[in-house]
């Protein structure tokens, strides 16, 4: 047993770190460091740089343009990318659509979609959740009816992240409402967002940003060749997608990077007549977060090492531990950052003035994104299976309750 990286793993980490250092455009890194969400163009730019190096489709087999990494290597890559901090590659393209097509897609589908997904020539979004189907996904109602060589889709999706940026959407639809079990009448279909009848309406979230959407489908005609896997067997495709390797789920590198940022700013701001960084309460809070991050780092290593050893490639149910603790830390570190900013983190004027080019800076550059990041990350324990659903998974899969 040895918690240290092997010399090979250290060499790999150094290679990744050096590549990111030398190739991540400075303006993107600066925006990320100040906590801004990655812009669409930043994600595209960075993913294409990574793709040129052969790393964007980091979890795919070499045959389809992936680097053929072990789970440990994938973990190192993801952590280094987050810690840089660099934009994350599109999870819709890379960890969701890609593995699904590689597992269930036809040869033609793979050739048509995979290279463009890897290079982010096409931006994908995920049409799963519906107003009446959140945690209980199998109750989805969006209907697809086969008419000749097309499916005709009617219904509504919600919480569709980045749908307004997307070229394509993979959608779960009900193709057989009469199936004995509701999981049995669902299909997985690829929809071109430019198809007539697809309408995207923004949902502004509590951080003030437009990240989420509703997507309405009204008589949307989709060619039958866009079906992935068998008709009415989409639930197993979705389960594969959701249960697919969850190496990056803890996003620990982001939490580590945020604590570093909080400590930097805490040297600038004051508390009771001295720098905040010297305040006992602040230091104890940081120490506690660092302890929790260290524990999660080792737990993640344990779970990820087990991936490489498991025969069936199925995720360890303990990856739910990574989701729960990882999101708690994302939230905890975002709270820390916001609290360091204090009153300067509260003004919302940046949104109003964003369009005005010659407005001089009124607040310190570290301030504007502190509250929005905190607000947006309240979603972390809701998306990807709420943390309560994760506890249900642990109960079923590990505890047998």
């Amino acid at each position: 047993m040895d918690l240290r990286y092997t010399p090979e793993e250290v060499a790999f980490r150094d290679e990744v770190r050096a590549f990111i250092r030398d190739n991540l455009p400075k303006d993107i890194r600066d925006r990320m460091r100040l906590g801004y969400p990655a812009r669409k163009q930043d994600v595209v730019t960075w993913q294409r740089i990574l793709n040129k190096r052969g790393w964007a489709a980091y979890s795919w087999p070499e045959e389809w343009g992936g680097p053929g990494w072990t789970s440990v290597q994938k973990m190192i890559f993801l952590e280094e990318n987050l810690a840089a901090p660099a934009p994350e590659v599109s999870s819709f393209n890379i960890t969701m659509l890609g593995p699904v097509l590689i597992q269930f897609g036809t040869e033609a589908q793979k050739r048509r979609y995979l290279p463009a997904a890897a290079n982010l020539d096409e931006w994908w979004c995920q049409g799963f959740s519906e107003p009446g189907a959140g945690s209980d996904l199998a109750s989805l109602k969006t209907r697809a009816v086969k008419e000749g060589d097309h499916y005709v889709i009617n219904g509504q999706k919600i919480w569709t992240s980045t749908a307004h940026n997307a070229d394509w959407c993979f959608v779960l639809v009900r193709t057989n409402p009469q199936a004995a079990k509701r999981q049995e009448g669902i299909s997985f279909i690829l929809v071109d967002m430019r198809t007539p009848g697809v309408e995207v309406r923004p949902i502004i979230s509590i951080d003030g940003s437009h990240h989420l959407n509703e997507v309405f489908f009204t008589d949307v005609k989709v060619p039958v060749e866009n079906l992935v896997g068998e008709e009415n067997r989409g639930w197993s495709v979705a389960k594969y997608l959701l249960g697919n390797e969850r190496t990056g789920i803890a996003r620990l590198g982001r939490s580590k990077e945020r604590v570093r940022f909080a400590k930097e700013v805490a040297r600038e701001v004051r508390m009771n007549g001295k720098p905040l960084i010297e305040d006992r309460g602040f230091r104890t809070r940081v120490a506690q977060l660092e302890i929790d991050m260290k524990a999660l780092e080792i737990t993640q290593m344990r779970v990820v090492s087990a991936y490489d050893k498991s025969k069936d490639g199925r995720p360890d149910p303990l990856s739910s531990v990574l989701k729960i603790k990882g999101t708690e830390l994302l939230q905890g570190t975002s709270e820390l950052v916001m609290d360091v900013g204090g009153p300067q983190a509260m003004p919302a004027w940046t949104q109003e003035l964003a369009a005005l080019t010659n407005e001089p800076a009124v607040l310190p550059e570290w301030a504007p994104q502190m509250a929005p990041a905190y607000l947006m990350l309240r979603a972390a324990s809701i998306y990807g299976g709420t943390n309560e659903i994760q506890k249900n998974i642990l109960n079923k899969a590990v505890l047998g309750l």
Binding site: M1, T6, A287, I298, V321, G400
Partner: protein, 375 residues
């Protein structure tokens, strides 16, 4: 990065697990608690035969030359059964002190005797006023006839009542709280001037108050320079007890799950209530995070850089302490009334975890130390 066990480590775990399954059922342990020693000399001899007492002792001294991971696995198994024997005091704390500070003659005499089960040690460092502060030593050593004589008192000395020899810290220089001026001494527990008052801690394990009055003592290690050794002994103790807590948490978790599945209320097992299911899942999360930290502690005891080592050990102590408290409190809670009774096992694990949290610096003490180092 590697989480595999070696074949030897698997064998060790299996043989210890078998032995404890036979000898350490909860009712058998209750009998041991009633014995005058509060533990089993018979099992102590068996541990020696199995090589457990020599596990971390070098082969040249009759041991197995095992490392921190071996000790971790053993202590975890001990934690699952709430083993009462003076293993921590003798083999972890005592042997570590002898290994780090002893000269060739002292090592050659004492380490084989530990491995053979003939000598038991106790680490008499903390004092009544010192709480967890490692430099707060008032016991004094003065030179006399080419040797030393000790004057002072040591408090809550783990298994201090049964030890054959005591490893005692005392001031040869400096004053209270100074890092310099502390030395370690070997004391014959039966020597004149040693007064021991033995008692049980809240978990049933034994300890003692030890008064030292004009006690002849043999220097162990360098004069005035014992603090780094004492720190490493304490760190070894933290790593070992962290593993013990993991074993105790595993046992509590298993008992709790069993109870949730069998206890019926409102016509169904109480484990069908989601509130209780989620609490059980939170216990699992805490236990796994704690397990990671116990691994960190085990991996860190051999770290060469003292600052890095101390930091990792403190992180582990806090992580395991918090996990242990959460799991044990909820284990009692989910059992309801039966969890409060002395006849039921869960409360015994609860008390072991409580006692361990208050050894070698508690959660607040180590968190405070880490807060000092935030940079």
């Amino acid at each position: 990065m590697d989480f595999d066990l070696t074949d030897d480590q698997r064998l060790l775990t299996e043989s210890v697990t078998r032995l404890l399954a036979d000898e350490y059922a909860f009712d058998q342990r209750k009998q041991l608690l009633k014995a005058p020693e509060g533990w089993s000399p018979k099992l102590w001899a068996q541990y020696a035969e199995l090589g457990l007492l020599g596990l971390p002792i070098a082969e040249e001294h009759g041991g197995f030359g095992g490392g921190a991971v071996d000790v971790m696995l053993l202590m975890q198994a001990f934690g699952r059964h709430l083993v009462l024997e003076p293993y921590l005091a003798t083999v972890v704390l005592g042997a570590t002190a002898i290994r780090l500070a002893g000269d060739a003659a002292q090592q050659g005499e004492i380490l084989p005797a530990i491995a053979g089960g003939e000598t038991k040690l106790a680490f008499a460092h903390y004092e009544r006023q010192s709480r967890y502060d490692i430099t707060d030593v008032l016991t004094a050593a003065t030179r006399s006839n080419g040797g030393y004589v000790l004057e002072g008192a040591k408090s809550v000395v783990l298994h201090g009542d049964c030890a054959d020899r005591l490893i005692v810290s005392a001031r040869t220089g400096g004053s209270r709280d100074e890092r310099e001026g502390i030395s370690l001494f070997l004391v014959d527990a039966a020597a004149e001037g040693v007064t021991r008052r033995g008692y049980a801690l809240r978990d049933g394990t034994r300890a003692a108050e030890i008064a030292l009055s004009g006690v002849p003592a043999m220097l162990l290690g360098e004069v005035d320079q014992a603090l780094p050794v004492i720190e490493q002994v304490v760190e070894a103790g933290i790593a070992a007890t962290s593993a013990e807590v993991i074993g105790a948490m595993e046992a509590m978790q298993a008992m709790t799950l069993d109870y949730l599945k069998t206890r019926q209320q409102f016509g169904k097992p109480i484990g069908e209530n989601q509130a209780l299911q989620h609490r059980a899942a939170e216990m699992l999360v805490a236990m796994e995070q704690g397990r990671s930290m116990a691994m960190l502690a085990a991996m860190s005891v051999a770290e060469a850089d003292p600052a890095e080592r101390a930091r990792s050990i403190s992180m582990a102590k806090v992580g395991v302490g918090q996990a242990g408290r959460f799991v044990s409190q909820n284990a009692v809670q989910l059992h309801g009334g039966i969890g409060m009774t002395d006849e039921y096992a869960v409360g015994h694990y609860f008390r072991r975890v409580m006692v361990i949290e208050h050894m070698f610096g508690d959660t607040a003490w180590h968190l405070d130390r880490l807060a000092d180092q935030v940079a």
